[in-house]
């Protein structure tokens, strides 16, 4: 890729971030101080995680690259060499936003050894990025691709619903909103028939040339220059067929598409 990134780079705290202890007094009403702080930490814990995925361009780039690397592994395109400058394919992209030092240093430290000033409990990534409910993701894929929900192209997604986080409480399967490497891989594989479907091809004949329309449908917003640049760079070395597939998989597997 044109801009290889050191995946071991620990995330830096944005200048405009605050810890839970910095949340203004009075932010949480009618609670004891201890409870208030506890609530604030929990809120910060949950919500800062979302923000870190959404708000920081550098972190988004990291996640995008990690995700692309997983696509490459899942789609067999790793042989093209595109993955060599991306994050390791076995690296959980969620961890790219974790506070732990990734070069062997103790957790909670920066490369300089300084303690990371992060909210207590804010980086428990057990709940990490939260996927949209499975049926919502399925409906979104169908809509973007222009397929009915029962179309054969979606059969793999439907068949792997539990692997992809769906629930059936009657048999003890709870919703699982985690976005693990294995789940990304399963999602990507299940998406391949969708990306290859004639309807999809008709709707978006050439990707990334039709990226604007695709992004608008998939994300509900206009494509940005960053979107275009990142995608064009990522697939520049591929043939047209591979480009189409990879762009399709990348967008429909991106955090922006599968999570909120």
């Amino acid at each position: 890729m044109a801009h290889p990134r050191d995946c071991r780079e620990p995330p830096t705290r944005r200048a405009d971030e605050r810890t839970a202890s910095e949340i203004p007094e009075g932010a949480v009403a009618d609670a004891s101080e201890r409870e208030r702080r506890s609530v604030a930490r929990r809120v910060a814990s949950d919500l800062l995680r979302v923000k870190r995925v959404r708000a920081s361009p550098s972190q988004r780039a990291l996640l995008r690259e990690a995700t692309v690397a997983v696509f490459l592994a899942a789609t067999g395109l790793v042989a093209t060499g595109l993955a060599t400058t991306s994050c390791a394919t076995n690296e959980d992209p969620r961890e790219l936003t974790a506070s732990k030092k990734r070069d062997g240093g103790p957790e909670g430290t920066t490369p300089n050894g300084a303690a990371a000033a992060l909210p207590e409990g804010a980086f428990d990534y057990a709940a990490g990025v939260a996927l949209l409910p499975f049926d919502v993701r399925l409906a979104k894929v169908a809509r973007v691709a222009g397929l009915p929900i029962d179309d054969p192209a979606l059969a793999q997604l439907r068949a792997r619903r539990f692997e992809l986080g769906d629930h059936d409480f009657s048999i003890g399967v709870r919703p699982d909103s985690s976005w693990s490497v294995s789940r990304i891989g399963a999602w990507v594989k299940a998406l391949k028939p969708v990306c290859a479907s004639p309807v999809m091809r008709h709707r978006y004949p050439s990707l990334p040339q039709n990226l604007d329309a695709f992004v608008l449908a998939a994300y509900g917003r206009e494509a940005t220059n960053d979107d275009r640049a990142a995608m064009t760079e990522a697939v520049s070395a591929l043939d047209a067929e591979s480009k189409h597939e990879l762009v399709c998989l990348a967008v429909l597997s991106s955090l922006e598409f599968v999570s909120r």
Partner: protein, 393 residues
């Protein structure tokens, strides 16, 4: 409103989103926009807090909601409406969403997750609660019918008889799905889930909300607490400590409503509510669960109390619950948790919940749609979320 500037910098993100919801003195309106107004009253009148929302804020806000309510992203026409009308676009758009085919599924999703019910097993249809929720939305019926419907709904959306065999009905509460998924000793989980999901309350509650049963009506283990010595009882530290009566004085009333439903969710008129002498504590014989009540007559009965009102059975209790002030505000809370992924521990400003509930009640018993519209078009909700989402792509 005091006008105190406690609205957070944008960077505090969603952590402050929640804080903005609970900040009593501030409107939660972002302060870093020079064209935004303070929410302090001006000459006794509330300032308009809605003009300051930028189109980008509203876009981010509606993008957050769309997948959860209509299982899709925003359409170009919707983006254009937002750009043109900003905050004013929100309520009409939510109204439009409420008529989409995907909207009722949001209600199903919410109730299925709240009660942990879905699927089919052992001949029990765990989708009945979700079916009912979806039916209420499709038919534009009050959400309170989740608790008061005297029918169930099958997978095709048609009404059908419910499955517990009880001679009374209480919406989702009298489905086997609810009964089985929440079966536990003394019926504690059934009672606590009912209170949590539909009143957003937990034990112990203020005495004013639910007066405790008198100690003498309860089995001895639930009579004790720190003050039990005052009643001539031996102090005890059984179970979770020394305050059994504090919670079980109220638990007992609600758990009694379920005493005739066995662990498979079937109604058993022959239930005794008495502890199985050879069984685990809290279990009666034949797959039933023990009552809190001391007297054999009370222990086997359907009757009890709900929020201080005497009721003959679970159906009447559910009606009290559905018409209580806490029902609507609790459903608002549930909506916020569902669509914003707010932690259950987030404290929401009571006046915001009250404003939303009052608005929703203006047109009668609130529906799921009216609650969604009123909740997610409230300026403080919008501000709180938009604050946190700023910076999203």
């Amino acid at each position: 409103m005091t006008g105190r500037r406690c609205a957070p910098p944008a960077a505090l993100a969603l952590a402050v989103s929640a804080a903005a919801l609970v900040a009593q003195a501030c409107g939660g309106v972002p302060e870093d926009r020079t064209n935004r107004r303070n929410t302090a009253p001006v000459d006794g009148a509330e300032a308009d807090t809605t003009e300051g929302f930028a189109a980008s804020d509203v876009r981010a806000y509606m993008r957050q909601l769309a997948p959860y309510f209509v299982s899709r992203e925003l359409e170009p026409t919707e983006l254009a409406k937002i750009d043109a009308a900003r905050f004013a676009a929100i309520a009409p758009m939510l109204e439009t969403w409420s008529k989409e085919s995907g909207f009722p599924r949001a209600a199903r999703r919410l109730i299925a997750q709240k009660l942990s019910v879905s699927g089919n097993r052992d001949g029990i249809d765990f989708d009945l609660p979700g079916n009912l929720a979806e039916h209420l939305v499709r038919s534009n019926l009050p959400l309170s019918e989740l608790l008061t419907a005297d029918y169930c709904v099958d997978a095709s959306g048609s009404k059908r008889a419910c499955d517990s065999g009880a001679p009374f009905q209480a919406g989702v509460l009298t489905t086997r799905a609810f009964m089985v998924s929440r079966a536990s000793r003394f019926n504690l989980t059934r009672a606590s889930t009912m209170l949590d999901a539909f009143a957003c309350r937990s034990y112990p509650m203020p005495e004013a909300v639910e007066p405790r049963l008198s100690r003498s009506r309860l089995i001895p283990m639930f009579q004790v607490d720190d003050e039990s010595g005052d009643a001539g009882l031996e102090k005890d530290t059984f179970g979770n400590g020394s305050a059994c009566y504090s919670c079980h004085g109220q638990f007992g009333a609600h758990a009694q409503l379920f005493v005739r439903f066995d662990e498979t969710g079937l109604y058993r008129a022959d239930a005794t509510g008495l502890q199985d002498p050879n069984g685990e504590l809290g279990r009666a014989t034949n797959g039933l669960f023990a009552s809190h009540m001391l007297s054999a007559d009370e222990a086997r009965g359907d009757g009890s109390q709900m929020f201080g009102s005497k009721v003959r059975n679970l159906s009447e209790a559910a009606k009290v619950l559905a018409t209580s002030p806490s029902f609507v505000s609790c459903q608002v809370t549930n909506l916020l948790e569902y669509a914003l992924r707010l932690p259950r521990t987030t404290e929401l400003a009571p006046e915001v919940l009250e404003e939303i509930s009052a608005s929703a009640r203006k047109k009668g018993d609130p529906t799921f749609a009216s609650l969604v519209v009123e909740t997610f078009s409230h300026p403080r909700i919008v501000a709180a979320v938009a604050n946190g989402l700023r910076g999203a792509p």
